[in-house]
């Protein structure tokens, strides 16, 4: 009994310590932003490897999710004779929910795990220590550009996901099932609200961008510097990011609906 309590206390302490380290790391990385702005190349390189390399999986998934939405939406809406609103349904579900959430989940799997593994390996091969001994702050030099790249990439990727999804829904609804082309777009234009739908979606994806990248970088930076430690960090990144995204999505949605 006492032992179990002690174990509980210990894991609680370990958790708090980890949380503290994660926060310190965030502060450390933010302190590196001015230095990074003086070397935009570092950011560009990371935008490429974090953002651009994730485009393909996001694009393909976006199209398919949109096509499925088109099919399912048509199936339900046609029962009420409301096929004309198919465009609204597809666009709203993508922009408000699926775009940010699915993008974040895919991002955690593709870019987040890669970030953790890369940083973890740099740690275990002493590259980070090496930078420190060369009087280069590895947090500023290595981590900050990755964090900013992740935060910038996520909303753009989510926007792309939603856009391609809308085209996917259009292809199925208009192209295959015979919904009127003009209606599909016109309804969408008149019903989707800038603040209510689009802005809220963007806010979500920015939040997810911060959280997913932060988790990925922290797991890599805080890992046990061995092969096993790196592989565990990678797994934890995907698990923690996915849970955080789904949990935060509920919280944010509830807040936005008020």
């Amino acid at each position: 009994m006492i032992r179990q309590l002690a174990a509980l206390g210990r894991s609680g302490l370990a958790f708090s310590a980890r949380l503290g380290r994660a926060n310190l790391l965030m502060l450390g990385m933010l302190a590196g932003v001015p230095a990074m702005l003086r070397r935009p190349r570092l950011l560009l390189e990371q935008l490429f490897s974090v953002g651009v390399l994730t485009v393909l999986i996001i694009a393909v998934s976006g199209v398919f999710v949109g096509m499925v939405l088109g099919l399912q939406g048509y199936y339900i809406l046609s029962r009420f004779g409301a096929e004309a609103t198919l465009g609204v349904m597809v666009a709203a579900s993508l922009v408000r929910e699926l775009g940010p959430v699915v993008t974040a989940l895919l991002f955690a799997g593709r870019a987040g795990s890669a970030l953790s593994a890369e940083i973890g390996l740099m740690k275990s091969t002493e590259q980070l220590s090496g930078l420190e001994m060369m009087a280069v702050n590895p947090q500023h030099r290595v981590l900050t550009p990755r964090l900013i790249a992740g935060i910038l990439s996520m909303p753009l990727l989510a926007a792309m996901f939603s856009m391609l999804g809308v085209y996917g829904g259009w292809f199925v609804g208009v192209g295959l099932l015979g919904v009127d082309d003009g209606t599909y777009w016109a309804q969408m234009q008149s019903q989707i609200d800038w603040n209510e739908d689009i802005l809220n979606g963007v806010i979500k994806s920015v939040v997810f961008g911060v959280v997913c990248t932060w988790i990925a970088i922290f797991q890599g930076y805080d890992c046990v510097p061995t092969s096993e430690g790196v592989s565990r960090a990678t797994t934890r990144t995907v698990v923690h990011s996915s849970l955080a995204v789904l949990g935060l999505d509920f919280v944010l949605t509830a807040l936005m609906f008020n």
């Binding site: 002493e126 590259q127 420190e132 001994m133 060369m134 280069v136 702050n137």
Partner: protein, 273 residues
Amino acid sequence: MNHAAAPNDTLVRIRGLTFNRGSRVIFDGVDIDIPRGGVTAIMGPSGTGKTTLLKLIGGQLRPDAGTIEVDGLNVHELSTRELYELRMRMGMLFQTGALLTDLSVFDNVAYPLREHTRLNASMIRKLVLMKLEAVGLRGARRLMPGELSGGMARRVAMARAIALDPMMIMYDEPFTGQDPISMGVLVQLIRRLNDAAGVSSIVVSHDVQETLSIADLVYVISGGKVIESGAPDQLRSSEGASTRQFIGGLPDGPVPFHYPSAGLTADLFGDGA
């Protein structure tokens, strides 16, 4: 503990250094003086904490007790900025090389120059090629770290460590994985760098003969203590049983060196220090 240099000639002064890893005591009240302008060797069996000592000197680890002064500055009381300024004057060759894997050999050596100087590209190129020439790898400058052998990677790391012409260079196992020829070249290189520019060098190594041949002062560490120190000749004629064993070319042989027990440590003390 003879041979301690006069205070103002001491570049690194370590007093009462105590350091633990978890419940394991790595250092237990160690005093070391590293004289300015000489080659100081730190020797000792695998796992005694030689790498740890270098990291403590470089300010990457904090001691549990005791002080480390480098060039009159207490390393662990400096602000981050001051610590980084101090590190610019220190070069360190990591045991593992620690090259940046996404940069070529050339860019790795150029890294500290690009980071800390305002030299133009052609000047940096000349400097990098000179440093690479010194370690015999000018021809390998386009290779990536993944394409190097272990010994080559270490020599590149060495070129990087000396790129900024630091006042003090710490070499962690510079000779490991080198063939006899490059070993000889490296031994001479360390000595030459040391003498030419008034650099101070700390060499951590298991290679007894090579190390004794270039060192001015040797510290033998074992079981968290300095068990012997002095000039190479003094060590060669040392009466201490463990020192004799170590110098005699059995660095990884005898059990006492690998698993120092309390009784044995006391024993070693009686003989050595």
